[in-house]
Amino acid sequence: MPMAPLPQFSSSVKLKYVKLGYQYLVNNFLSLLLLPVMAAVSLELVHRGPGEMVELWESLRVDLIHVMCYLFAIVFVSTVYFMSRPRPVYLVDYACFKPPATCRVPFSTFMEHARLIYPNEKSVRFQMRILERSGLGEETCLPPANHYLPPKPTMEASRDEAQLVIFSAIDDLVRKTGLKPKDIDILIVNCSLFSPTPSLSAMIINKYKLRSNIRSFNLSGMGCSAGLISIDLARDLLQAHPSSKALVISTEIITPNFYPGNERAMLLPNCLFRMGAAAILLSNRRRDARRAKYRLVHVLRTHKGAEDRAYRCVYQEEDSEGNSGINLSKDLMSIAGDALKSNITTLGPLVLPMSEQLLFFLTLVGRKVINPKWKPYIPDFKQAFEHFCIHAGGRAVIDELQKNLDLSAEHVEASRMTLHRFGNTSSSSLWYELNYIESKGRMRRGDRLWQIAFGSGFKCNSAVWKCMRTVKTPVDGPWANCIHRYPVHIPEVVKL
């Protein structure tokens, strides 16, 4: 029976059961194989009888020295095995910044300010169209400096915003986990567009009086996917240093990046980017395993920067009038699709069950050997993961990924609702989405989670987590007082 046409017939009920049976068979192949083997062995034992077993044992002429040597060999091999395994990385807990109502920007205020700031009416109308279709809600927040007409992005205002969002998130995390600042061994901060001297990590060390031998890193310029890059860096450092705790801060500071010009491709970030920050506590200590929420299984990074098209896709530059802004190219979605394909090609063998891998492999072989016209088989990632956190970069990104990965509305609900309530908070959006899933009471022990982030470069990064304990509601976090209103229906176009 040919394998390729299977996905087309998946609506048929009979084939659904065939598919289920196939999956069960292949995924549990070894256990199923074990049954007849065990049956044969026990039959043989019963056949031979106990007396013969004792005779067999005596004939081996085992004495104390031999036993000791065998034991020693076993202990040695197991020690080497356990020591060479990578240290597990646990996510003890995380906290997201909850923007105060004093920073709220309703649609009407945004549009009125746009009319007053931009003399060019076309720019105003363009921003209105973007906002209508953006998928954002009326509760997203901009920093205080952006509420002025016109916004005055001074360095002091940027630092104020950084202190507000970062310290708020860290204070929340300290409250939830009982973390003592002196216990932090590794500090990683990622913030793409604001990079003062001294760095934001120095700002945190100064405020919380962290240790003088702390290993601190400040990643800037790495775009919206930098959150997972920080996690990757933290994981590597936690492999190198035993019994350590790492604090990762993911944020994006909006104040310095207001674009006052008229270039359309550069006006998009004004409409979509909003305030946000997340603080994550990672640990490789065994005793933290008991209270940790998640364990990091994989982090996978894919960089398409070698291609010029991907490199120039999200590009910060000055327009013809000298205003600095971030230029988003029209190819963004197709480049994102390519990057995603590369990423999941590498991720697939690591996470997919045997049944999907076998199908993919057979289709691949079939396309090469038998008939190149066969459609490539897109593995069903829904069998590998229970939850998906897709970076809320914009409505188009979520739509595209939902289509590519064949996800249901419930799988992408966390991403859509985060975009609605908080806007595009860049690298921290994955954590707001995770908080949504937890607040809805959907996160159970043993669930697997996939976080996907895209960013300038062009990069596509994935992280896979496994839930270690069921998260009980209500969850303390940015969704606490509004989760009961969600999910909301987000219309295609909001009437402004």
């Binding site: 109502a101 709220r104 509420h147």
Partner: protein, 424 residues
């Protein structure tokens, strides 16, 4: 005047919105009386003396209570819309927000308040003088300006489009903000929520009712189109008089209450000044009875127009005051839905108007225990006949009188009052 304007600099504009989402279909309907008042604007300036408390309030402290405040007073943050092309206006409560202005003054507050020379309308630099329009759909209804003086002290300028409500509503609203800032939020908000039983409704779509001739206190003017200001041919200016207790007693003794006495006094003086066109008609305006359904935003007046057979100058002061006192007041000028907005009217200044604002708690704006040392209150969009506002003064026993008259009448009025009555 221009040197006063030049002293106030460094204007920074921002917006403040309600803390909670008001909703996408919430509308504040404008009644007939609201639409009659649409060409008027209330301007108030509250002066706070230098003190550690007031000077220690940063702009974030001033803005923070506005968010829960606007949850209660959400129509203030809305914008005017029309039902259809040229149709009846209403307020769409879309959370657009208030406009906040921050400025600083290069003079000290003492210099500002006590220098006599120069224009008396000095308060104008401390409150935004914007009106609704030309972009009606994007014009804020309320502006607040915070001006810091050299060496301490602050002036809070409150600009309020009269279409939202009368001076009582305006004063109650800003007093609530003061209470929230001073930090007793829970009880106040709960109380206000109970009071605010106005149900948000969708604007009525019925056919336009028949046009009725305007009753006496109001005068019809040409349609204002997109800029809601009356057509003026003469420039209006203001002047503030302080009438002390002793002066009041000299005038009337105990027989007639202060408001009527003062109204009679100014009417006679103006009759003498305006020898060519004497004011035979005068409108008396008092606040209306408390609303039955406890709307927090309302335009409620009791008005009546007095017609004199002879010149006011010839009538004796006490007699005129008694006549004013005994005048019957009309509660409702127009039925609630009578006006469609197809006609535009003026109330203040249609005839010489006397407004009794003595009961309005201007000095009730309390910021962490600090009350204003002075409040200037005026109306923009007043007609040419002029308006006289009788207000509370910093001293409870005194009264302030703010006159809004054509520019050229003010010096003569000052001369008459000081020479005949010793009032400055």
């Amino acid at each position: 005047m221009s040197s006063d304007q030049a002293a106030v600099t460094g204007h920074r504009f921002s917006s403040v919105v309600p803390g909670d989402v008001t909703g996408s279909a919430v509308v504040h309907e404008l009644g007939g009386m609201d639409l009659i008042m649409k060409l008027h604007y209330l301007r108030a300036v509250y002066y706070f003396a230098p003190s550690e408390v007031v000077d220690g309030l940063a702009i974030t402290d001033l803005k923070k209570p506005m968010f829960p405040w606007l949850n209660v007073y959400y129509p203030l943050a809305g914008r005017i819309r029309r039902a259809a092309e040229g149709g009846r206006p209403f307020i769409k409560c879309n959370d657009s927000g208030l406009r906040i202005v921050e400025a600083s003054c290069s003079r000290t507050m003492d210099e500002w308040l006590h220098v006599e020379e120069g224009g008396e309308s000095r308060w104008r630099s401390l409150v935004p003088d914007k009106v609704l329009g030309p972009e009606l759909y994007f014009s804020p209804l309320v502006y607040i300006q915070f001006t810091r003086f050299k060496h301490g002290g602050m002036a809070i300028g409150y600009s309020w489009a009269h279409v939202l409500g009368d001076p009582e509503s305006a004063t109650n609203s800003i007093n609530l903000w003061g209470e929230l800032l001073s930090g007793n939020p829970q009880t106040v908000i709960a109380q206000k929520n109970e009071e605010n039983t106005e149900e948000p409704v969708i604007a009525p779509q019925g056919p336009a009712p028949a046009l009725v001739p305007a009753p006496a206190p109001i005068k019809q003017v040409e349609i204002a189109e997109d800029v809601w200001l009356p057509p003026t041919h003469r420039k209006m200016a203001t002047h503030c008089f302080r009438i002390t207790e002793t002066e009041l007693q000299k005038l009337h003794g105990e027989q007639v209450p202060p408001f009527e006495t003062i109204s009679a006094l100014f009417w006679r003086c103006l009759a003498r000044i305006r020898s060519r066109r004497e004011p035979e008609l005068a409108t008396i305006c008092r606040s209306g009875t408390p609303a039955k359904n406890n709307e927090i935003l309302h335009n409620k007046f009791r008005t009546s127009t007095i017609k004199l057979d002879s010149s006011a100058a010839s009538v004796e002061l006490l007699g005129l005051a008694t006549k004013i006192l005994k005048q019957d007041m009309d509660e409702a000028l127009v039925d609630r839905d009578n006006s469609t907005g197809e006609q535009d009217f003026l109330l203040y200044g249609a005839n010489l108007t006397f407004v009794d604002m003595g009961g309005i708690d201007l000095y009730g704006l309390e910021l962490k225990g600090q009350r204003p040392v002075r409040v200037d209150y005026s109306v923009d969009g007043v007609g040419e006949e002029g308006a006289i506002l009788v207000l509370q003064a910093p001293q409870r026993t005194d009264l302030s009188v703010m006159v809004i008259l054509p520019e050229d009448e003010i010096p003569s009025l000052c001369r008459v009052l000081s020479s005949d009555f010793g009032i400055a």
